[in-house]
């Protein structure tokens, strides 16, 4: 939406390779909706010149928070930034989650780095949301208390049982759906998790929004590299994760690509 030069207000490693950043930007803070993202220039090197998409995790006052895991070259550079450095940030970008008073029993499901955009989403529901968070293991467990503070209930699940319940994050969700709880599901995480959530939403006939990931170029809808397959009355069509998403209704996306 805008190009912003933002000062880093704080930057901290909150778990191994997970960095929590707060930047100053009144523009982004006052325009951001839960589920939108930032497109961040991680360094001025020609050599690594694509920006990196990172979700907005939270906003307050004139500050914007995002959290990311170090994966490759770009996030590595980003993690090396210091308090006071200036970041070149496009945003807020994309379409966020649909938040409405209509939904009385929101179910929020996050896996891995997918949990970060969900904090600000949970906040919108005035402690009505039930949150399900999946982690690889307890070393990756972050933000548990922050989610607890804004949700009705938080279930923690881990692959190896080292924190919370052992298993898939969808398991406690199934439990609730079986009990007839939930009038909308919001999910963000790895594609297999999104596929499982999509199937559950269909099975239990609950509305569902998914936040997708795709490699990006421009981030603003102009280059068509960030496509995801959607389906509308039987016709398959590529939409843009950056501009049409990253949040889609689950019956709209095939998750086949």
């Amino acid at each position: 939406m805008g190009k912003n030069l933002c000062k880093i207000y704080s930057i901290d490693e909150i778990a191994a390779n997970i960095t929590d950043v707060v930047i100053e930007s009144e523009f982004i803070a006052s325009n951001a909706k839960p589920g939108q993202f930032l497109h961040i220039d991680c360094g001025d090197e020609i050599n690594n010149f694509l920006r990196r998409p990172i979700s907005i995790c939270d906003v307050y006052d004139n500050k914007v928070r995002f959290i990311f895991e170090v994966k490759g070259n770009g996030t590595n550079r980003l993690a090396a930034k210091k308090r006071g450095d200036i970041l070149d940030v496009l945003g807020p970008l994309g379409n966020g989650f649909t938040v409405s008073d209509e939904y009385k029993q929101p179910m929020i499901v996050g896996g891995g780095i997918g949990i970060f955009p969900l904090l600000n989403l949970a906040k919108q529901f005035d402690k009505k949301a039930e949150v399900f968070l999946g982690f690889r293991n307890k070393d990756r467990l972050v933000m548990e208390n922050e989610f607890k503070a804004v949700s009705k209930d938080v279930s923690i699940v881990s692959d190896d049982g080292s924190c919370g319940i052992k298993g898939l994050v969808t398991e406690p969700l199934i439990n609730r759906l079986e009990n007839g709880v939930g009038d909308i599901i919001y999910a963000c995480g790895p594609t297999p998790m999104l596929r499982a959530v999509k199937t559950l939403a269909e099975k239990y006939k609950v509305k569902c929004q998914l936040s997708l990931e795709q490699r990006m170029g421009c981030g603003i809808g102009a280059c068509l590299v960030c496509s995801c397959q959607t389906v509308f009355t039987g016709t398959k069509k590529y939409k843009k994760v950056c501009a049409d998403g990253p949040v889609f209704w689950s019956d709209e996306v095939t998750l086949n690509d």
Binding site: G217, G221, A222, C223, V225, C226
Partner: protein, 314 residues
């Protein structure tokens, strides 16, 4: 990176260039496929500050494009394999063109096809529209059936250019592929076929493999390389082609600064296009305009046209 400072002396600089009778307020154009149909960037720049904009490649029927992932990062460049996703010429004329037809900048449509007839038919449909010029893409490396098969043989380049010219009432730019043994041969064939201008370069075919998954990063396996990495190849080709033909050239490939643009103009380009650089900075096209102007002021040159082909070979 170049810090763009507005020229601060009093030199009045004439930035206008002319290509095939069309006047550009300055020599900076956006490259096809990197600027959508124009509207996306309007939040970031004042499009009327650009000489022209080239729109995303159009085909007769709508095209879905290739499977994602469609982009990979490489040293000083990117690979893309979009594969000409577009809504088709009819929907373009109906849904997209109205929003941009009044922009105060030169509008260039970019067209692709599977057959010569496809190209002719799109050119015809565009001939009565508000588009100012047509760029014929015979060089897209990302679609098996389209473009590139026409773009690598002088005979077919000559033939398709001649045929399309018959159906095209707008000035015709032929966009050349760098994936050829001798680009001057192709350029001469396009000129002989009636091209009003040439643009170059399109992307160079490349590949990146993820050594952990052992799979190509692009779902299409291969894609087109663009960005700073290709700049020396593009400058060389512009220089060679400038020495081989008389029609004006639009140079592109890795332009990130006004200095880069000046380099292309010295090599022989009348105008330049900025593509991949805009992913780094959506304001880049306008910064390139300012950068050229600053260069001219610093050097006391008052007409940008003096740069065209002004390289002094050793």
């Amino acid at each position: 990176m170049l810090a763009v400072i507005e020229g601060n002396d009093k030199t009045v600089v004439d930035m206008k260039v002319n290509i095939a009778g069309v006047e550009f307020k300055n020599p900076v154009i956006t490259a096809s496929g990197t600027f959508g149909f124009g509207k996306e960037f309007s939040q970031y720049i004042d499009i009327s500050k650009l000489g022209g904009i080239t729109l995303k490649g159009l085909t007769l029927a709508p095209r879905e494009g290739n499977k994602p992932p469609r982009i990979a990062e490489t040293p000083a460049g990117i690979l893309n394999s979009v594969g000409l996703q577009n809504p088709g010429i009819e929907d373009f004329l109906k849904d997209e063109l109205p929003a941009i037809k009044n922009l105060d900048t030169v509008l260039i449509a970019n067209i692709s096809g599977n057959t010569i007839e496809d190209y002719c038919s799109i050119a015809e449909k565009l001939s009565d529209s508000d588009i100012d010029m047509i760029e014929m893409n015979i060089s897209c490396p990302n679609v098996k059936s389209g473009g590139i098969v026409f773009g690598t043989q002088p005979e077919t380049v000559n033939k398709i250019t001649g045929e399309v010219k018959k159906h095209c009432k707008k000035p015709l730019i032929v966009k050349l592929s760098p994936n050829v043994t001798d680009i001057t041969e192709i350029a001469r064939a396009a000129e002989a076929g009636g091209a009003d201008a040439l643009s170059l370069i399109n992307t160079i075919l490349g590949m990146k493999i993820d050594i952990h998954t052992k799979r190509p990063v692009l779902a299409n396996n291969v894609g087109g390389l663009s960005g700073p990495a290709v700049k020396p190849v593009a400058v060389r080709m512009v220089w060679q082609v400038a020495n081989a033909v008389k029609v004006p050239l639009i140079g592109m490939g890795g332009i990130m600064t006004g200095e880069d643009a000046v380099e292309f103009m010295l090599a022989g380009a009348t105008a330049v296009a900025v593509g991949t650089g805009m992913f780094k900075d959506p304001e880049m096209s306008v910064k390139v305009v300012n950068g050229i102007e600053k260069y001219l002021k610093d050097k006391g040159i008052n007409d940008v046209k003096e740069l065209i082909g002004a390289v002094i070979p050793n």
